[in-house]
Each structure stands twice: as structure tokens, then as C-alpha cells.
């Protein structure tokens, strides 16, 4: 599993990692809600994930089961991709942020000072 996940594939996998095994229909509903993808988009990405071996699709109702864990994905992915993984809260974001290549520790600290100190 050396290949990196595309961002859309990552979005799909994140849903499955969070919720466990789901029907394909349910995945489309969740992503419709979260991002606003229409169901065809999600189906296309699911199909890609199956082709690449990230998940398994079973009858009935196209039950989708992740074949790789988040940790495995993290290990095989480059540092850049770890940055893509952050979710939710700003603390988590900033910890992911520090590894980001755009801004380094010092810059982030300075920017935060600027934001917090201005009236």
C-alpha cells in the first residue's frame, strides 16, 4: 500500500474510520451533509478506493469496510499527508500546523501574538 491517498479518497476513508462499516448509501448521505458532494461523486470516489484496495464492498447494500486503519494510512503517507489529517479543534489544528511547510513554529507564534495582542 505504497500509494498515497487523494484528498477525496481521504474524505471517504475518514468517514469510515470514524463510523465503522457503513452502506455506500449512508456514506453518500454523510458526505452530502458534510461537504455537499452529490451521490455520483461519492460513488466514483468509493469505486476508486475499492480499486486501490483501501476498502471492501460487500452485498447486501454495498457494505463498505475499511481495509486499512488510520494509523496504517498515516504510516505509509508522507508528512505532507499527515498535515491533511487534522480535524476539528484548533489545538489539533495547530499541532498539525507546526509540521506544515508553509509556516514554522516561530512564525505561527508571532502571528498568534499579533492576533491576540491587537484590540
Amino acid at each position: 500500500m505504497g500509494t498515497t491517498l487523494y484528498d477525496s479518497e481521504l474524505k471517504v476513508m475518514e468517514v469510515l474510520w470514524r463510523e465503522g462499516t457503513l452502506t455506500a448509501k449512508r456514506v453518500t448521505e454523510i458526505l452530502k451533509d458534510e461537504i455537499g458532494w452529490n451521490k455520483n461523486t461519492t460513488y466514483t470516489v468509493l469505486k476508486k478506493c475499492v480499486e486501490k484496495g483501501y476498502l471492501r464492498r460487500d452485498e447486501p447494500d454495498f457494505q463498505c469496510t475499511p481495509l486499512i486503519t488510520k494509523d496504517e494510512a498515516c504510516q505509509t503517507m508522507t508528512n505532507e499527508l499527515i498535515d491533511k489529517m487534522f480535524k476539528g479543534s484548533s489545538e489539533l489544528f495547530f499541532s498539525a500546523f507546526l509540521k506544515g511547510k508553509g509556516l514554522d513554529d516561530r512564525q505561527v507564534k508571532r502571528l498568534m501574538d499579533i492576533i491576540e495582542e491587537s484590540k
Binding site: S8, I35, T41, D83, G102, I114, S118
Partner: protein
């Protein structure tokens, strides 16, 4: 009062555009923190008009850039006279022609230099002789190369955006509705910062990897991109790119492109904050940081949300205040004023000579008049000007008016004749006293003439210089091998010999 033409050369448009760009950035440095940021994209569009349309408006407020002297009509006039003379010399004396020719050239150069500054006199003749053809070819090649390069960039972007998924996100739709913008929203795997793309039907492209559960950030991003669409920033950028193709050799225009795209971001940050309710500065600044963390990448082609200068933008965001009515009206006035200055500030070359060597009987002054700015003076302008100046000189005959006075009167008369402000004309008067008057004046001062030699109090004069005080051009200047006295004569500006204006020094031959 206004005179408009459409013949400015492209390179001059580029130079003026560059100067304007520097002015806009200076204005931003000086007042940028206090003024609404939308002012700057407006000023940039004015600069873009300058870069594309070869208009030249001359007004009483136009700047007089010395460069304009280069293409002076007088200069060309003297060159053609020079050519005439040289051909005549060739015909007249073919054997000793070379020496005479160089003499003639020298004297011609000297007379030019007395009327124009040395720098223009030196550079001017070389200018018309630059071969236009290879410069033009090189320029055209550059235009094509830049256009091809931009087209390649564009098709690369199109390829990247091909694999995008259209989305219908409720948060995004709500924001777009509030901004009164219709635009399709897409997610794309291969971009790292949000983009507003397209001219006719713009779309907003979001990086798939961004956090869609962070509604606040999503709101900020969509609102920002919606502002790009609302203010047609992509149009402005497209025009900017076209200007880059035309003026590809001008580094100031490239610099301008960068400054313009920065100012667009700042202006959209400001517009976004004004659309959002309440004080969102802090949260918006954090959104900016979050997007910068995804990846810092700038793109000249498309409006993008995060650029390398997050810090600058965050500072700008934190300094944001809602502008009051006073500030807005001040800004509108500033925009109009600056545009007017930009429009009429720089003019193209014009022929500045109007009258040349006008003289009237009884008046000891010769007058020249040049135009200070490009003016349409109507039909028979030259003839009317000549007779106006002649009238002033003739009326002044025998009145011993000073140069300053006379010049003022000439300018005033021309201003009335043509209905233009006096500042548009510049008169130069210089002494020209008839020989018999000079001799009369000399006689009164105790100088007599016998044959071709002067005598002062009966002593043979060794040398004589006669000039106006403070003026280097001589009315008389001669010297001989023998004689016993050196004479220095000074006149006032009316041409009269000053009291104690004749000074004599004994001269001994060693």
C-alpha cells in the same frame, strides 16, 4: 484649456504607468492604514487604462517632464537648417569643405545649447536615428512569448481543475445568498488554496482536504471568494496579465502586477469583514492562518485565498475598522483627484517652439516664445502668435522696458490672444541693439571709433567686452595685438550702459 491627443508611444505609456504604480504604492504606505482598501484596486484600474490607451491630456496642471524637450520642434528645425547649410557648403566649396563643415556643425551645436539644456541637446539628435525595426521585432517576440507562457499556465490550471466535484453545501449557499452572488462551488483534490476562477460564470474551487466541519472557516472562505467575484477581480487580473504581455520588458509593470494582486486580497479581506456581522477580525485572522497552513502558494492567474504574506493580511485584518461616511467620501474624492492627476500628469512629446526671433523697430529686444505644455492653439496659431509678440515689441519701442517686464507682457498678451493660462507660454527676450545706437552709446561713454579700432579717452583699446550684467552673451567682444587699455562695459537689462558701467584697465605688453 484641455488638449487631448491619442499618439503616445507604448514605451512612454509604460514609463508613466510605472511612475503611477510607484505613486499608488507610496500612497498605500503613507495612508494605507487609514483608508478603505478598495481604493487601491480602483487606482490600479486607472493605471491599467494608462497602460492600454495612448491618450495624452494636457492641462494647466500637467507635469512638465524635461524629457519632453527631446522632441522639440525647434531642434528638428535647426537640424534641417543644418542639413541645408551643409549641402550648400558642399556645393560652394568642395576643397576646403571638411574644415568648414566641422566648424559649421560646432556652431550649430552651440546655438542649440544656448536654448536647450545641454543634456537634451546631446541626447536628442541620436533618438530619431535608433532603428525601430529590430526593437519592434524584439518587442513583438516578447509579447508573443509572454502570451504563450500565460496560455500554458492557464491550460495547466484548467487541467488541474478538470477533476473537480460540484458540491451543494448549505453553509456555502447561505453565504453566497447573503453576498448576492451566484456561483458554483467545487472541491478539487489538487489545489491547496481556495480559488475564484472564471470571468463569465465564475466558480469557487475549494481544496478537498480542507476541514468542512469548521463552518466558520468555510463561511469566511466563501465570503472572501464571493467578494472576488462581486468586485470582478478576475477581470482586473486578466487585464493586468494582458498589460504584462504588452509591457513585458518593463520591470515596473511586473512589480505592479504583484502589488495589484496583494491589494486585491486586502480589499477582499476588508469587504468580507464588512459583510460578516459583528466583530469577526480574530476568527477571520485564524481562518487565514488555517488556510495558510494547508500550503502557502501564490498564483498570479487566479484569485487565491492564501498567499505567502499571511502576516501582512492578518495585520491588515486586525487593523480593520468600519469606515464612516466621512472617510468614504474622502476616499471617493481622493480616488477622483488621483485619477485626474494621473490622467493629465504625463503628456506625450509636443513641439514646443511657437515664435522665433521676433523683432520690432525701435525696440532693442528680440523675443522667442516656447510652449510649456501641449496645446491646441487653433488655426494660424503661429501667425497669430508672431503678430501678438510683434505688437507688444512695437508698443514697447523707445520705452526702455526691462527684459522681465517685457517677457511678462508678451506672455500676458499671448494668454489673452489664445484664451489659455499664462503659464502655458514662456518668453525669452534678449538684447539686440542696432549698430548705430551702440556707437552713439559708446560716444556718450567716451569711446570713439576710428576705422575698425576703438579709442577710450584717446588711448587705443587693446580689448573690449560689452555685455548685459549677469548674462554671458556679448554685444561686442574683440581684442587686438596692440593697444593700451582693456575695456569692460556692463549694461542693465534695458540695454542701457550702467552708471560706472565702463571700466578701463591699463594693459601692458610684456
Amino acid at each position: 484649456m484641455l488638449s487631448i491627443r491619442f499618439d503616445m508611444p507604448l514605451w512612454l505609456m509604460g514609463i508613466y504607468g510605472g511612475i503611477m504604480a510607484i505613486c499608488v504604492v507610496l500612497l498605500r504606505i503613507l495612508l494605507g492604514k487609514r483608508l478603505p482598501k478598495r481604493l487601491f484596486p480602483i487606482l490600479w484600474s486607472v493605471v491599467l487604462v494608462r497602460l492600454f490607451i495612448p491618450f495624452s491630456i494636457s492641462s494647466p496642471f500637467s507635469l512638465h517632464i524635461p524629457l519632453l524637450g527631446e522632441m522639440d520642434g525647434r531642434l528638428f528645425g535647426s537640424i534641417s537648417i543644418l542639413q541645408q547649410q551643409t549641402t550648400e557648403t558642399y556645393e560652394a566649396a568642395s576643397d576646403s569643405s571638411i574644415e568648414e563643415l566641422s566648424l559649421l556643425l560646432n556652431s550649430a551645436n552651440e546655438t542649440e545649447q544656448t536654448y536647450t539644456s545641454p543634456a537634451t541637446a546631446e541626447s536628442a539628435p541620436s533618438f530619431p536615428f535608433i532603428s525601430i525595426s529590430w526593437v519592434g521585432t524584439l518587442w513583438a517576440a516578447g509579447v508573443i512569448a509572454s502570451a504563450v507562457w500565460l496560455a500554458l499556465c492557464w491550460s495547466k490550471c484548467q487541467k488541474v481543475l478538470e477533476n473537480s466535484a460540484s458540491i451543494s453545501n448549505q453553509t456555502a449557499e447561505k453565504v453566497l445568498q447573503k453576498c448576492r452572488i451566484t456561483a458554483d462551488v467545487y472541491t478539487c483534490d489538487r489545489i491547496s488554496s481556495p480559488l475564484a476562477v472564471g470571468l463569465g460564470h465564475p466558480g469557487i474551487y475549494l481544496p478537498t482536504r480542507m476541514d468542512f466541519s469548521n463552518y466558520e472557516m468555510l463561511t469566511h472562505i466563501i465570503a472572501h471568494e464571493a467578494m472576488h467575484i462581486k468586485y470582478r477581480d478576475n477581470w482586473l487580473k486578466t487585464v493586468m496579465l494582458a498589460a504584462l504581455c504588452l509591457h513585458w520588458y518593463n520591470p515596473l509593470i511586473w512589480w505592479m502586477a504583484r502589488e495589484l494582486s496583494r491589494d486585491l486580497e486586502s480589499a477582499c479581506d476588508e469587504a468580507t469583514l464588512s459583510v460578516l456581522e459583528g466583530d469577526n477580525r480574530k476568527n477571520y485572522a485564524y481562518s487565514l492562518m488555517a488556510m495558510a497552513a494547508l500550503e502557502c502558494r501564490g498564483s498570479l492567474i487566479y484569485s487565491s485565498f492564501s498567499k505567502t504574506e499571511v502576516e501582512r493580511r492578518i495585520k491588515g485584518v486586525m487593523a480593520y475598522k468600519r469606515a464612516g461616511k466621512f472617510l468614504i467620501s474622502l476616499t471617493i474624492m481622493l480616488a477622483i483627484g488621483t485619477s485626474a492627476v494621473f490622467a493629465t500628469g504625463g503628456t506625450t512629446f509636443y513641439s514646443s517652439g511657437l515664435c522665433w526671433g521676433i523683432q520690432a523697430d525701435g525696440c532693442y529686444m528680440i523675443a522667442d516664445v516656447v510652449l510649456n505644455r501641449d496645446l491646441e492653439l487653433g488655426e494660424f496659431a503661429q501667425g497669430r502668435a508672431n503678430s501678438t509678440v510683434y505688437r507688444v515689441l512695437a508698443e514697447s519701442a523707445g520705452q526702455e522696458k526691462g527684459r522681465t517686464q517685457l517677457q511678462k507682457e508678451i506672455v500676458g498678451a499671448l494668454s489673452r490672444e489664445f484664451g489659455v493660462e499664462p503659464g502655458a507660454f514662456q518668453a525669452h527676450c534678449y538684447l539686440s541693439i542696432p549698430r548705430e545706437v551702440i556707437l552713439e552709446q559708446y560716444a556718450q561713454a567716451g569711446i570713439t571709433i576710428k576705422g575698425d579700432r576703438y579709442y577710450y579717452d584717446g588711448t587705443l583699446v587693446h580689448s573690449i567686452t560689452d555685455r548685459e550684467e549677469g548674462n554671458a552673451s556679448y554685444i561686442t567682444a574683440s581684442s587686438w595685438q596692440d593697444g593700451g587699455v582693456d575695456l569692460y562695459i556692463l549694461r542693465d537689462e534695458t540695454g542701457r550702459i550702467k552708471e560706472d558701467g565702463v571700466q578701463a584697465y591699463l594693459w601692458y605688453r610684456f
